[in-house]
């Protein structure tokens, strides 16, 4: 941890280019390293399809560009934009529910004729920004009215996204909001109370779930109940990971991946390809990247100079952490299949752009600090 807290020892010259470009070297290089690892795995997952890798490379380029762009926005401006961003995001969500385009049974897309995008992606950033903005207005920990309002701010977009239905994103957004509230000092008593409440509400949640969502939960509990249907993904990914062993079968040599047994292997289940071809050691490398990025994010949060940026940076970092825990948990059969990609590694999606924009915010927070006297 001492390395992560190194800012105390930073000298102006070392920070020079980072400060000018508003980039954080540790975060940037670990993100680039992670992307590179992702491209290597993706090349194999796509069966050696270089075009797939090229498309992903373009997407990564756009994502890094958006990181760079967002990093230039000073946190002060971000703070001012927050309520507007949130409102625009909610309006888009309403528009999606009314007139969005469907794809694969879910209504997630909004066609603005110029770009076709998922408004839920905006909310991944807008919700934690909004809650942080709102809670930072008054002193911490927030009182009950503030908490109640924050809960509404989280619940409204979450429910709208869950309705699309996009359970994975709804879950991410809910946790990003929750992290803000938790960091802001949510009383342990209340946390316990909510925990009890959620447990009690579980049957009701079950009641409101779509059939396929229920099926996923059943599948998680007993994948062998339907080995060729809904259990197939989990069974095959467990076989892929398990047969990879300590060192893996070698790049491009995963039989589960290369012979089509593993479904969705370039997207949601790409972690299984890594596990099969690079083994536990490969996974260890991936986890090291992830953990480093999360810890670096938390460090940035702690070093931030005001409550809004602290809350926001902490939430974004922890959400990233949740992101990869949910994906790896689902691929290893610990969590239901909710349809979340492995951040930075899985092919496609607008989510990678949002993700990098989030890191842009972190970098902006880190690099726009007023240097205090040592």
């Amino acid at each position: 941890m001492s390395v992560a807290f190194a800012s105390r020892h930073e000298d102006a010259s070392r920070r020079g280019w980072q400060h000018r470009l508003h980039l954080d070297a540790q975060l940037l290089f670990s993100l680039i390293g992670l992307s590179a690892l992702g491209l290597v795995v993706l090349y194999s997952a796509g069966g050696g399809d270089i075009e797939l890798v090229e498309r992903q490379l373009i997407r990564l380029g756009i994502a890094f560009a958006s990181l760079f762009a967002v990093a230039q926005v000073p946190p002060r401006l971000l703070l001012r934009m927050t309520p507007w961003a949130f409102m625009v995001g909610v309006m888009f969500l309403v528009a999606v529910l009314i007139g969005g385009e469907s794809s694969g049974g879910a209504q997630r897309w909004l066609n603005l004729y110029v770009v076709r995008f998922q408004p839920s992606e905006i909310m991944k950033l807008a919700v934690p920004m909004m809650v942080a903005w709102y809670l930072a207005e008054s002193r911490l920990p927030p009182n009950r009215w503030r908490l109640l309002t924050a809960a509404v701010l989280i619940a409204v977009p979450m429910l709208m996204i869950a309705k699309q239905p996009d359970l994975g994103t709804a879950l991410l957004i809910a946790s990003s909001g929750f992290f803000v509230v938790f960091l802001a000092g949510l009383q342990w008593r209340l946390l316990g109370f909510f925990a009890v409440l959620v447990t009690a509400a579980a049957p009701a949640i079950w009641h409101f779930m779509h059939d396929y969502q229920r099926q996923r939960v059943i599948t998680l509990l007993n994948p062998e109940s339907d080995p060729l249907g809904s259990g197939y993904h989990i069974i095959q990914s467990k076989i892929a990971i398990g047969s990879g062993g300590l060192y893996g079968k070698g790049w491009m040599n995963g039989t589960q991946s290369q012979l089509d047994f593993l479904p969705e292997r370039s997207t949601d289940f790409i972690f299984a390809v890594l596990g099969e071809e690079f083994g536990l050691l490969g996974i260890l490398v991936l986890f090291t990247f992830y953990i480093f990025i999360v810890v670096r994010g938390i460090v940035i949060s702690i070093q931030a100079q005001d409550t809004y940026t602290r809350l926001l940076a902490g939430s974004l970092s922890m959400t990233f952490c949740v992101y990869f825990i949910i994906n790896t948990g689902m691929v290893t059969g610990l969590l239901p299949v909710v349809g979340l990609p492995l951040p930075m590694i899985s092919y496609g999606g607008t989510s990678i752009v949002t993700l990098m924009a989030g890191f842009g915010i972190l970098m902006s927070i880190q690099t726009h600090r007023k240097l205090l006297a040592a």
């Binding site: 002193r139 000092g185 990879g244 047994f261 810890v295 938390i298 409550t307 790896t328």
Partner: protein, 616 residues
């Protein structure tokens, strides 16, 4: 407290957020630890289990069907072979517009509606990367026409395989049988693992009887496949064991001569080697070409075969049951001699009819004017019915039954072709069981000339004849004399299967009966003397004429007046040369009329063919 309500305490807030961040990090760390132990469990603890599962996924067993054994005649002439056959196959994933492709193909090669229907059925069932056969057995012209146009049809290919072929077509089809596609009924009786990958199975005849030998053992290869089953490479291979080649006792040359000898007649002939039971010729006519059956005969063609009133599909040699007629007389005569009822010199007067004591019903002789005074020898050579009416009555049905049973009548011969019928040797018990009636003396009388209930199959009659020829050794007829494992030179013989020996108390009884049979052919008054005149070898024989329908007492048999299918069957049994018999034959000509005039000349042609030196 009051100032904390209004003032933001930045120090407090940053401590709070720091503490909370540490809590979250610890919590996330715990989750990651759980994840990691899960991964450790999957990748280290259960690694072997999942490796097995992944191998099972990847490696599939694929059958390699064995080549079917060939069938040769006794001189090594091939009767059933495997020919390269060309199939037109389409790989759906390489086709953009299946309908257009098929239409374009139809302009080059004739595609039947049934082919298309079968193809589209398969198309729906098979994965898109698997080649689906559209046409089997392309002709050379079709292959050539397609090859020229091949560039226009990516995804359409010609593949070569082996298909059963019977080069002599109709020849000996009732012995050989044929193979056909495995259908659901056949699947039930086959060993599913050994028949994985096999498409055809023996349906009838030798092809069916010797299915196990001819088929061989399936080979296996371990192949690496994708989840969809596309084969990527072969990992391991255990080759199939080809089926055994069979060498038949059948002589294709004699078989062909026999089939030709019948002309347009329907009927059957079986020729045996009396020494070992080897079948030399096995004929049932009319015959048919088995080749269309191999890959599924067209319905119309099959219907035509089935509805043909001459019943080409009917295996007469094996399943045709005919009254033996007068061919039974040597056997009855032998029984009479053995029982001491008749002797070489005892004579009877034949007035042309016979009556039972106290009954006015006349049992007529075929010769209305009668044969005059005749002994057993005369009665066999001239085929006097009246003598045998009397002899039968004296013997009684029980005696006759047991003597005839010794010669194999009423019992299957145990021939190694499936589906044999046993004929019918009537007895008191049989009639009681079957008709719930007592046995009448009149029935004994007509049994004595091979009429009435009495039925025999051509193969049965041939076996009985060969027992006469070899002095009473009953043999199960053999049609396969050796088998040969593929790629070897060694012939593994199938040994003759002797049955019981018929004991006759005195050699003179044999001599008398066989002498009479010689005179049937070579004697001045023999019923088959026409074939004996110019014969270079000596033949023992007996004619027979079996009534297809009964004549009333006063009715005159007039061949011209009766419909052909109601005319008498002509029969002839013979063996030759008489001193050391090498061949025994039974000939039945359906609706042929007289045995001496029609059946005997056919038998002569068979013998001639057999004794003729084969061209070198």
């Amino acid at each position: 407290m009051a100032d904390r309500l209004t003032l933001k305490d930045y120090f407090f807030e940053s401590r709070l957020i720091l503490n909370r961040s540490i809590v979250l990090l610890v919590f996330a760390g715990m989750l990651i630890l759980v994840l990691f132990s899960r991964l450790f469990y999957l990748q280290v603890v259960s690694h072997e289990h999942y490796t097995t599962l992944s191998e099972d996924n990847r490696v599939k067993l694929q059958p390699i069907p064995p080549n079917r054994g060939l069938i040769f005649d006794r001189n090594g002439i091939i009767l059933a072979e495997n020919l390269p056959s060309y199939r037109l196959e389409i790989t759906p994933e390489q086709i953009d517009d299946m309908g257009a492709t098929l239409d374009a193909l139809a302009k080059i090669i004739d595609i039947r509606e049934t082919d298309r229907a079968r193809f589209s059925k398969l198309l729906a069932r098979k994965p898109a990367f698997e080649a689906i056969p559209l046409l089997f057995h392309l002709s050379d012209a079709d292959v050539a026409r397609f090859s020229v146009n091949r560039h226009r049809f990516p995804g359409v290919d010609i593949t070569a395989g082996l298909a059963r072929h019977y080069p002599h077509g109709e020849l000996a089809v009732h012995a050989l049988g044929y193979v056909g596609r495995i259908d659901e009924q056949a699947l039930k009786t086959l060993d599913p693992s050994n028949y994985r990958g096999t498409t055809h199975v023996g349906k009838i005849g030798i092809e069916k009887t010797y299915e196990e030998l001819l088929h061989g053992r399936v080979g296996l290869q371990h192949v690496e496949t994708t989840a969809q089953g596309r084969v990527l490479r072969v990992l391991e291979r255990s080759p199939p064991v080809s089926g055994r080649n069979l060498f038949l006792t059948l002589d294709a040359r004699v078989q062909r001569a026999t089939e030709a000898a019948f002309g347009d007649f329907a009927g059957s002939a079986v020729a045996l080697d009396p020494d070992n039971g080897d079948i030399i010729a096995f004929v049932s006519l009319p015959t048919y070409d088995p080749n269309p059956f191999v890959n599924g005969i067209e319905f119309k063609a099959y219907e035509a075969l089935q509805q043909n009133t001459r019943e080409p599909l009917f295996n007469r040699a094996l399943r045709g049951q005919y009254p033996p007629g007068s061919t039974i007389k040597p056997f009855i005569g032998l029984a009479g001699l053995e029982q001491g009822i008749t002797g070489g010199h005892s004579k009877n007067y034949c007035p042309g009819y016979y009556t039972l004591p106290g009954n006015t019903r006349k049992y007529r002789d075929w010769k209305r004017t009668g044969h005059g005074t005749v002994n057993l020898h005369d009665s066999i050579t001239q085929s006097c019915d009246v003598f045998f009416y009397d002899l039968a009555l004296s013997l009684g049905i029980d005696n006759m039954n047991s003597y005839l049973r010794n010669f194999g009548f009423g019992r299957a011969t145990g021939l190694d072709i499936v589906g044999e019928l046993s004929g019918l040797l009537p007895s008191r018990e049989w009639k009681r069981r079957r008709h719930d009636q007592a046995w009448f003396p009149g029935e004994t009388i007509i049994t004595g000339i091979g009429q009435g209930f009495f039925l025999t199959t051509p193969v049965q009659l041939a076996v009985a004849t060969s027992a006469l020829a070899n002095g009473g050794r009953m043999l199960a007829p053999n049609i396969v004399y050796a088998e040969q494992a593929a790629n070897t030179e060694v012939l593994i013989p199938h040994l003759p299967r002797p049955r019981e020996t018929i004991s006759i108390s005195e050699q003179s009884h044999w001599d008398l009966v066989i002498g009479s049979m010689i005179d049937v052919v070579h004697g001045a008054r023999g019923t088959a003397r026409a074939i004996g005149k110019d014969s270079p070898y000596r033949i023992a024989g007996k004619t027979g004429t079996a009534q297809v329908f009964g004549l009333k007492e006063e009715e005159e048999y007039d061949a011209d007046a009766i419909e052909e299918k109601l005319r008498d069957h002509a029969l002839f049994i013979a063996f030759a040369p008489v001193d050391v018999p090498r061949i025994a034959v039974a000939v039945i000509v359906e609706n042929g009329g007289s045995g001496g005039a029609v059946a005997a000349p056919i038998a002569r042609k068979i013998l001639d063919a057999f004794f003729e030196e084969p061209e070198a």
